[in-house]
């Protein structure tokens, strides 16, 4: 009982902390969750986190909320979902509640602007670091087909600005077909 309470509290506080530092969109919280839940706490495997990233991005709604639902569900069922979503929603909820009464103070504040520009540079470094960590194993194992898929996805989204949802849904369909074809072949052999 006590262990369970401690786990939920830890999940709540982790999400609270990560959400408070999620500047720059859904991928940032996904990379922060990876470093917390995969590398530090070892609650999730790398593969699970990649699965969750794909699902969170393809499902409707905010990526941060979707990812916290998946992690909460995995770690503690419905109660886990509740705790994780609450932790994710509270920081922006608290900040915007205050700012809705007057935001001019923050909006044109030079100090805030400078700190944010510095943090934005840091966020870019964080996501770049995760990218390298994800790509390295494919390079090491010389998985050229996977490397080609990585490059293709990157070019489609970064240069041709193809909608991420289409990319993911397309990838799901192709992956399902490939797996089905492979299973059929194996069945005959």
């Amino acid at each position: 009982m006590k262990v369970a309470v401690k786990k939920y509290l830890s999940l709540f506080l982790s999400m609270l902390q990560l959400s408070a530092f999620t500047f720059g969109g859904g991928y940032v919280i996904v990379t922060l969750m990876r470093s917390k839940f995969v590398n530090k706490l070892h609650w999730l495997t790398e593969d699970e986190m990649l699965d969750y990233t794909a699902i969170a991005q393809a499902a409707p709604g905010a990526v941060a909320v979707n990812a916290s639902i998946l992690v909460g569900n995995r770690l503690g069922g419905a109660a886990g979902v509740f705790v994780a979503v609450l932790g994710t929603v509270l920081p922006p909820f608290a900040i915007l509640s205050v700012l809705s009464y007057g935001y001019a103070v923050v909006q044109n504040n030079q100090v805030v602007q400078w700190v944010l520009q510095g943090m934005q540079a840091g966020v870019a470094a964080v996501v770049a670091d995760v990218t390298v960590s994800l790509v390295l194993p494919y390079l090491r194992d010389k998985k050229y087909r996977s490397l080609f898929v990585i490059l293709l996805t990157f070019i489609l989204v970064a240069f041709f600005e193809v909608n991420i949802v289409f990319v993911l849904l397309g990838a799901f369909v192709i992956a399902l077909l490939l797996t089905a074809i492979r299973n059929k072949k194996d069945g005959r052999a």
């Binding site: 500047f23 530090k40 699902i55 909820f93 915007l96 934005q120 470094a125 990218t131 990585i150 991420i164």
Partner: protein, 189 residues
């Protein structure tokens, strides 16, 4: 009944907001500005710029901001709840099926094909965050003069993350503080 209206409108935004973040700004605008006149276009623009400066998903930020304006603290609670409820239901259902079939070779093989796509997506997020931080725009078509302070902060942050395995949040706090110091110094010389 303003609470019910807030709840239903933000539930719609949560339900149809695919792709996260900026992809759902037009949808939010059409509901909140054009249809219900809860915010003027100027206020909505301010809200988007505040959302870029504060952590958390744009959907949650908007729900809290508009909810507070229209219905006080309870309006904020109701609107925010509405914006996450569709995600909670849909993603919980996906999580249920994911857990049930995760260990079948079919789902497993399919997800293995998806993983490089996710790596490519995170890579493209890193790219656009870097462009945004260094050139002030995530589009390669409209580039400003490069911001050398941001560029060096990203580079140092990246090296520190890879070499010393500092936590991402520590790095963001450090680059935020360094950003404040450096931008201040360069603004007075």
């Amino acid at each position: 009944m303003v609470y019910l209206e807030l709840f239903l409108i933000f539930a719609q935004v949560g339900l149809f907001g695919f792709g996260g973040g900026y992809a759902c700004i037009p949808l939010i605008q059409s509901k909140v500005v054009d249809q219900y006149h809860w915010l003027s276009m100027g206020e909505f623009g301010d809200l988007i710029s505040i959302s870029q400066m504060t952590p958390g998903p744009i959907v949650i930020n908007t729900a809290t901001f508009v909810g507070t304006r229209i219905g006080g603290p309870w309006g904020a609670v109701v609107a925010t709840l509405g914006s996450v409820l569709p995600s909670i239901i849909i993603v919980s259902v996906i999580a249920y099926f994911y857990k049930k079939y995760k260990h079948t070779s079919f789902v497993n093989d399919t997800m293995v094909i998806i993983h490089p796509v996710v790596a490519g997506l995170i890579g493209s997020a890193a790219f656009s965050l870097l462009m945004l931080s260094v050139f002030g725009s995530s589009s390669i078509l409209s580039l400003d003069f490069p911001d050398f302070i941001a560029m060096s902060l990203s580079a140092v942050g990246f090296i520190v993350l890879r070499k010393f395995k500092l936590s991402p949040i520590t790095v963001m706090l450090l680059t935020g503080a360094a950003g404040l110091a450096l931008y201040y110094v360069f603004s007075i010389i």
